[in-house]
């Protein structure tokens, strides 16, 4: 066992300077070693491309109510619509083509996930960094707020916020950010507390760098690895939370169907046999979340030095 490990360990240091391998390239190489993660990434990219290209490839624009015919409602998969195109995944209760609905729904779901993920990560990371660097009362106040936030179920908080803010994509994103910033704040504070004690921070200060530069230029990059992992997990979480809120009827309006709205619409027809209205959007949602989680899992392994072989 050990003699298998020794030659490779001995061979590595001379090879490294010759290739000038950047941390990013090493990261990519180690990421693609896992086939399942690669599959997840490919699936995720495919889903994103489908969502971006939705207006080009969808047979129908579900937002254009003039193109929707009530006569087409609850048609099973493979039926031909009144306008003459085949509805491969059937249609929903108001006659919208489900494939088109899912493609457009993915756009909204992914956008909500991406925006809330990026915003929550930026805001949460900044707050966590400030807490760790400032210490004392500031840190205590911020961290108790984080504890409070995390002790409440996120669906409940989001539900209350959306009920207060009203419907709409922007309101949903605000609600999701409010729910999720605390995860980032807590994680970043944890890493920043460790980094803050390291000598390079003292060295940076001894060069006359300002607090802002020390925090955001020197400490932040060293805390990013866990943030990247949480972004993936929380983005997936945000997408499912949005679907939950829409399912509960407080999320997005019927006229702009997200995946959650589609699932909710089909739910009432489930028992009367029209399974496809809920199942296909549900499957799309599942695939999206699984692909993101596969990527996130691998990122966690790659970015965690303790798991390195």
């Amino acid at each position: 066992m050990s003699d298998a490990a020794l030659p490779s360990a001995a061979a590595q240091p001379p090879a490294a300077p010759a290739k000038e391998e950047t941390p990013f390239r090493r990261f990519v190489r180690s990421f693609v070693e896992d086939r399942l993660a690669l599959f997840g990434l490919a699936l995720f990219i495919l889903i994103v491309l489908l969502a971006i290209a939705a207006p080009l490839i969808a047979p129908q624009n579900p937002y254009d109510l003039a193109s929707v015919d009530v006569m087409d409602s609850r048609q099973p998969p493979g039926s031909v619509s009144g306008e003459g195109f085949t509805m491969w995944l059937g249609s929903d209760g108001v006659g919208r083509d489900l494939l088109s609905g899912i493609l457009y729904g993915l756009r909204i779901s992914l956008m909500v996930g991406a925006f809330s993920g990026i915003l929550a990560a930026s805001i949460g990371a900044a707050i966590g960094l400030i807490a760790a660097y400032a210490g004392g009362r500031t840190e205590n106040a911020i961290m108790r707020l984080v504890d409070l936030q995390l002790s409440l179920p996120s669906v409940l908080v989001a539900l209350i916020l959306v009920a207060g803010l009203g419907k709409g994509v922007d309101k949903i994103i605000i609600a999701l950010v409010m729910v999720q910033w605390a995860y980032y704040a807590r994680t970043v504070r944890g890493s920043a507390l460790v980094e803050r004690r390291k000598e390079y921070v003292e060295a940076a200060q001894s060069l006359g760098l300002s607090h802002a530069r020390t925090v955001f230029r020197h400490i932040l990059p060293n805390c990013l690895a866990p943030v990247i992992v949480i972004v993936t997990v929380q983005t997936a979480h945000a997408i499912s939370l949005e679907a939950t809120l829409s399912f509960l009827g407080v999320g997005l309006p019927q006229t702009e169907p997200s995946l959650g709205v589609l699932i909710a619409n089909g739910f009432q027809y489930m028992l009367s046999g029209s399974y496809w209205i809920s199942v296909f959007p549900g499957f799309a949602l599942l695939m999206t979340i699984v692909s993101i989680n596969l990527v996130g899992d691998r990122l966690r392994d790659v970015l965690n030095p303790r798991l390195e072989k």
């Binding site: 000038e20 390291k198 060295a203 006359g208 760098l209 230029r217 060293n222």
Partner: protein, 327 residues
């Protein structure tokens, strides 16, 4: 000539739950332009805290409670955060012990060096990069242009310390505080770095405060020496006289415990006992309990500094080698 650094009566205390730790308790010294002062002492003698006090990097619960630090005639004690920030890096720089730890592992060398330049000078990115490249070339790093794009982990320990030195030299500060910068390096690299520092300082007229526990390094590098024990300077003077005929029993003990001094096979000499807790210093001389020459008055009262010719001074009731000083 006005000294670059003049520290007088400096007291830096740490207010911990276990009591007040008097890490630095009345330290006075000065460093002239281009001079190298060796600040020597064992772990916990307060030599690093003295260095950090000059940099204004004492974090709570530590605090400078008394004394004055004058850098180029400007008082540093009581300076606000922004005032200190302007001094750090430009008028006084610091080089740390472990070059593995003092460079940010995720930032490229050029990023870190450009940051250091623009912290004080409003210059373009390109000009800052050129200055960084010149600084790397000056400390003897081959092909500096390419090395600027490297990450710290692509450098060896000695090269990293050279980068740290280059960063300290960026603003040509009149004073650099070196906190055991060669301790973590192996001996051949150590002597290279020492030679490099010596010639760089001679070229630029930079003064150094060289904090170390290695008397061998001090003997070769420093002009003057200050020996610290339990938060105080117990002996100071020009390097050769102090090392040739130490006045303080502690200096004598340090010299005696150098392995080179002993006969092969003979047990190595050591100073018996250990440093007293800085939170509970005895009433008399802090070294009395470990001193072979201690007498009754050593336990009763702490000695003051006795001056000797040639700017020597010793904090001892019964200095040794008095004949050597008179001669």
């Amino acid at each position: 000539m006005a000294p670059v650094l003049e520290v007088s009566g400096l007291k830096t205390h740490f207010f911990t739950r276990a009591g007040t730790v008097k890490s630095v308790d009345g330290v006075s010294f000065r460093v002239d332009r281009g001079e190298v002062l060796g600040l020597v002492g064992e772990s916990g003698s307060g030599k690093s805290v003295t260095g950090f006090s000059v940099m204004g990097l004492i974090d709570p619960p530590g605090k400078i409670v008394e004394g004055s630090i004058k850098l180029n005639g400007k008082e540093l004690v009581g300076l606000d955060e922004e005032g200190f920030r302007k001094v750090r890096g430009r008028e006084v720089a610091m080089i740390f012990q472990d070059p593995m730890m003092t460079l940010n592992p995720v930032l490229r060398v050029d990023t870190q060096m450009i940051e250091a330049v623009t912290a004080h000078d409003k210059v373009s990115h390109k000009a800052a990069r050129e200055r960084a490249r010149d600084a790397l070339a000056k400390v003897g790093i081959p092909s500096p242009e390419e090395r600027l794009n490297a990450y710290p982990h692509q450098f060896s320990g000695g090269m990293r310390q050279r980068v740290a030195i280059a960063i300290a030299l960026l603003h040509r500060p009149p004073l650099i505080i070196c906190d055991e910068p060669t301790t973590a390096l192996d001996v051949t690299i150590q002597s290279q770095i020492l030679a490099e520092m010596q010639s760089l300082c001679a070229d630029t007229g930079t003064a150094l405060v060289w904090i170390t526990h290695d008397l061998g390094v001090v003997a070769g590098l420093a002009d003057r020496i200050a020996v610290m024990y339990a938060g105080r300077i117990v002996e100071t003077g020009a390097v050769d006289p102090v090392l040739d005929s130490p006045l303080h029993p502690y200096t004598n003990g340090l010299l005696g415990s150098l392995p080179a001094e002993g006969e092969p096979g003979a047990p190595l000499r050591q100073i018996r006992g250990s440093t007293p807790s800085l939170a509970r210093l005895p009433q008399g001389c802090a070294f009395a309990a470990r001193c072979d020459y201690a007498q009754a008055d050593c336990l009763a009262s702490a000695p003051d500094v006795t001056p000797f010719p040639g700017e020597r001074g010793v904090r001892c009731h019964h200095p040794l080698n008095l004949a050597g000083v008179a001669a």
